[in-house]
């Protein structure tokens, strides 16, 4: 029974090749709200399965599989240009790390918090995807670069969200990674660090394809001031939540 539950959970906390299902589903969901809901709910189903089945997955094979899945999707993110797919691959790279955290025997609330911390950046990136698609007709990096000069508010939001995607301080992903690293073995720790490095590389490429580069001219309206403040508020809340959570996580 527990083996079956673990295989089922591997679709929701995606391990390759089960992760193909989530990525196809994410690519096929066109409604922005449905896509947001998918990103938030999908990994929590995996967490619910683990908590419901009182699963205690362990073993080198599962740890290696999760680590390799994380590295594999982080590596593939390097050449993804559609921001929606980029967000899905980021999620497919971040969520396997939940398995490594589970192996450290955390409490149920810590597990949920950890998964949410790993979900924050992909969800924020979906918002960026929609903002870009609404203005530029398509959310492709490299299609219209140099947004920094002409759409400064949108560029600021893209930069902040990308930093969150790279799991840099003080975003929740940073503390979540420290939490999972604090109980990792050497091989797993190196795998996690490699994943982290690849996120940074992919994030920098995303920034170079959007906000940096020769200016495109006044191609669209910038993000409204109120929306920018809303996103800023959201980010502050997430950072604060991450800081409060780390009191018990590290």
């Amino acid at each position: 029974m527990s083996g079956l539950l673990i295989i089922l959970a591997a679709f929701f906390l995606p391990l390759f090749p089960a992760s193909l299902v989530f990525n196809r589903l994410a690519a096929g969901t066109t409604n922005p709200f449905a896509r947001l809901a998918l990103f938030i709910v999908w990994p929590q189903i995996g967490v619910a399965l683990i908590l419901w089945g009182d699963l205690a997955p362990a073993g080198t094979v599962l740890a290696t599989w999760a680590t390799l899945s994380a590295i594999f999707y982080a590596f593939r993110m390097l050449t993804v240009r559609e921001v929606g797919r980029w967000a899905a691959m980021l999620a497919s790279s971040a969520w396997p790390l939940v398995w490594l955290f589970v192996m450290q025997g955390p409490s149920g609330s810590d597990l949920i918090a950890f998964t949410l911390a790993m979900t924050v950046a992909p969800v924020l990136m979906l918002l960026v995807r929609d903002a870009l698609a609404r203005r530029l007709e398509a959310a492709y990096t490299g299609l219209r670069g140099g947004l920094a000069r002409d759409l400064p508010r949108l560029s600021g939001v893209i930069a902040v969200v990308t930093l969150a995607a790279m799991a840099l301080p003080l975003f929740p992903g940073f503390f979540a990674l420290l939490a999972v690293l604090s109980g990792a073995t050497l091989g797993v720790a190196i795998g996690i660090l490699l994943t982290w490095l690849l996120w940074s590389w992919a994030g920098a490429r995303l920034l170079q394809g959007t906000i940096f580069g020769p200016r495109s001219g006044p191609i669209a309206d910038d993000l409204p001031r109120s929306t920018t403040w809303l996103v800023a508020g959201l980010v502050v809340v997430m950072v604060a939540a991450g800081l409060i959570w780390t009191g018990g996580a590290v």
Binding site: L20, N23, R24, A27, F75, R76, L78, T79, V80, E82, R85, G146, A148, R149, A159, L163, L168, P169, L170, F174, L178, L181, S182, A184, T185, L186, A189, I190, L193, W196, L197, S200, W201, A204, Q208, I211, F212, G213, P214, R215, T246, G247, V250
Partner: protein, 560 residues
């Protein structure tokens, strides 16, 4: 007193926030706000340093809560806070006019404040996580500062190189922190270092010693941040960023490696092999940096490689056990290099107005290569050149510390001092002068003053930074090697250096062209230098291959 320490990193962060929020309303005047707050930071840092020296409290530590979020006030943090905030203030003031016509004026000052806050947090961090946060932030903010002008492709390209190298340097420190936390169960530095001193032989993954493994990882981190070979390619290429950023980078940010090694001195003291590694990597970096500096035809890249060479020396000093000297070196180099960058515009401006270069003896000697018709006898000069610097150095160091010559690291530094002194006399004895004896006497007097002054200041600085004499001796002792091997190495190096001088002298006497003889070997060597040892090319090829592979995987899996 420690409560006041919080203001030092927090005020620049506050300045960044205010600059961002008030930028629209205040316009260009927002820079004055930033400068004002940074001036306050310098005043507080100066007060803290003075109070620390005057008081008798010793190092202090204060945390916000249990876990992480703490600062410390110790000699290293006190002195570095003043240096960093001081250099940052000068850069701020310089930028007020320099950046006035650049787009994103307010953003630039915001980033400058964020950078100042991050570096100050790094030097004062009281626990592993606070240090990691600051360590990460430095790389991120530097990326945005270097890419401040968002349009030129080269600026973006090299900002990216810097960012990815800094990320490479971030991650070993994370692993080091994880290992320390797993082994000793604490995050704050005072307790951590206490426990390390009590039980330095704790083992970690694969039964490796914790101290050695952590020292190795910290060294890797330092190599990336301080542009050590082969992680150096970002440094000479980052001149596309604004000049004030170059000044701040070369005067402050690139020194992070030396600071972090000093911060983890209680770990390095148990890791002799890693100190040897630091020495070798520093030496290789110093050599390569200096050689590439001499072969560049681009003045900015040349300055970049000069910094790389200096960073090599700094790391080499830590490898010799002279941790305090590395800090002394990075402060001196920071002030010197910062001045060069900030003064470069004025020099260019002056050169445009007065195209006639002053025609004095020094110019004739250095540029026109005209030496004096009347010189002192070569035998006297040879003896003076080889012996006088050694005598001055030995006497000066014996004066400040009698046991100086018991330490191998000190001998190494003395050796480099001797070479430098000989080079100075060797290079200047042919300077045209009406009275060659008086000129030589003046040169020797200047050299003696510099050495004595430096020895005194250096020794006082070392005593301030590491007041525990036993700990200072342990650092030198950890960096030591077998006495016979050491002596053999010193003799071998001395022979190589002396043979090099003789070769240079004979070439000069015979008036040989530099490229005569050994044509192919010289050409190959020059190709290597001019292509900067192909390091950047190798990285480029690796990047292209990896990206191509990633793309193929995505196509094969239909982007799912």
């Amino acid at each position: 007193m420690i409560e006041l320490q919080w203001l030092i990193p927090l005020l620049p962060f506050l300045a960044a926030l205010l600059v961002h929020l008030l930028g629209g309303r205040m316009g260009k005047r927002v820079a004055r706000l930033s400068v004002g707050i940074n001036l306050l930071v310098v005043v507080i840092a100066a007060f803290q340093l003075t109070a620390y020296i005057a008081g008798d409290t010793g190092p202090q530590w204060m945390g916000l809560a249990n876990g992480w979020g703490s600062l410390q006030l110790d000699p290293l943090s006190a002195i570095m806070a003043l240096v960093v905030s001081g250099i940052s203030l000068v850069v701020h003031i310089y930028s007020i006019r320099y950046m006035i016509e650049e787009p994103g004026y307010g953003r630039f000052f915001m980033l400058l404040d964020l950078m100042t806050g991050s570096i100050l947090l790094m030097v004062m961090a009281g626990d592993l996580i606070t240090l990691l946060i600051a360590w990460h932030l430095i790389g991120v903010v530097l990326y945005f500062l270097l890419a401040h002008n968002t349009e030129p492709p080269n600026a973006q390209r090299y900002a990216f190189w810097t960012f990815i190298t800094y990320r490479l340097g971030d991650l070993p420190l994370v692993l080091a922190a994880v290992i320390l936390f797993q082994a000793y169960g604490v995050l704050d530095f005072p307790t951590l270092f206490e426990r390390i001193a009590e039980s330095p032989d704790v083992r970690t993954f694969m039964n490796l010693p914790v101290t050695g493994t952590v020292a190795f990882l910290v060294a890797l981190s330092a190599f990336a941040k301080s542009a050590q070979f082969p992680f150096h390619t970002w440094l000479p290429y980052t001149m596309e960023g604004p000049t004030p950023v170059s000044a701040l980078m070369h005067a402050g940010i690139v020194n992070a490696g030396g600071i972090i090694i000093n911060r983890f001195a209680p770990v390095f003291v148990h890791s002799g092999e890693i100190l040897h590694l630091l020495f070798v990597v520093g030496l290789v970096t110093a050599l390569i940096g200096s050689v590439l500096m001499l072969t560049q035809n681009d003045i900015k890249k040349s300055l970049g490689y000069s910094t790389m060479g200096q960073m090599g020396f700094m790391i080499m000093e830590t490898g010799a056990g002279a941790f305090a000297l590395a800090i002394f070196h990075l402060i001196a180099h920071g002030l010197f290099k910062g001045t060069m960058f900030l003064g470069a515009g004025n020099v260019i401006g002056a050169a445009r107005k007065h195209d006639g270069v002053p025609n004095d003896p020094l110019y004739d000697f250095l540029v026109e290569r005209k030496s004096a018709p009347a010189r002192l006898p070569w035998l006297i000069i040879g003896a003076v050149t080889l012996i006088v610097p050694l005598v001055i150095l030995v006497m000066a160091h014996a004066w400040v510390a009698e046991d100086f010559f018991q330490k191998q690291g000190a001998i190494v530094l003395l050796f480099f001092g001797w070479i430098t002194g000989v080079q100075v006399l060797f290079a200047t004895h042919r300077l045209d002068s009406e009275n060659p004896v008086r000129m030589m006497a003046l040169i020797i007097l200047s050299f003696a003053l510099i050495v004595v002054g430096y020895s005194f200041v250096g020794h006082s600085f070392e005593t301030f930074l590491y007041p525990d004499a036993a700990f200072r001796d342990s650092l030198y002792s950890a960096a030591g090697i077998d006495a016979v091997t050491f002596d053999m190495l010193v003799i071998l190096l001395a022979l190589i250096v002396v043979l090099g001088w003789m070769g240079a002298y004979l070439t000069n006497v015979r008036r040989q062209r530099v490229d005569e003889g050994h044509g192919n070997a010289r050409l190959t060597l020059y190709s290597l230098f001019s292509r900067e040892f192909y390091v950047a090319d190798v990285y480029d090829r690796m990047t292209v291959t990896l990206l191509d592979f990633s793309k193929r995987l995505n196509v094969w899996l239909k982007w799912s």
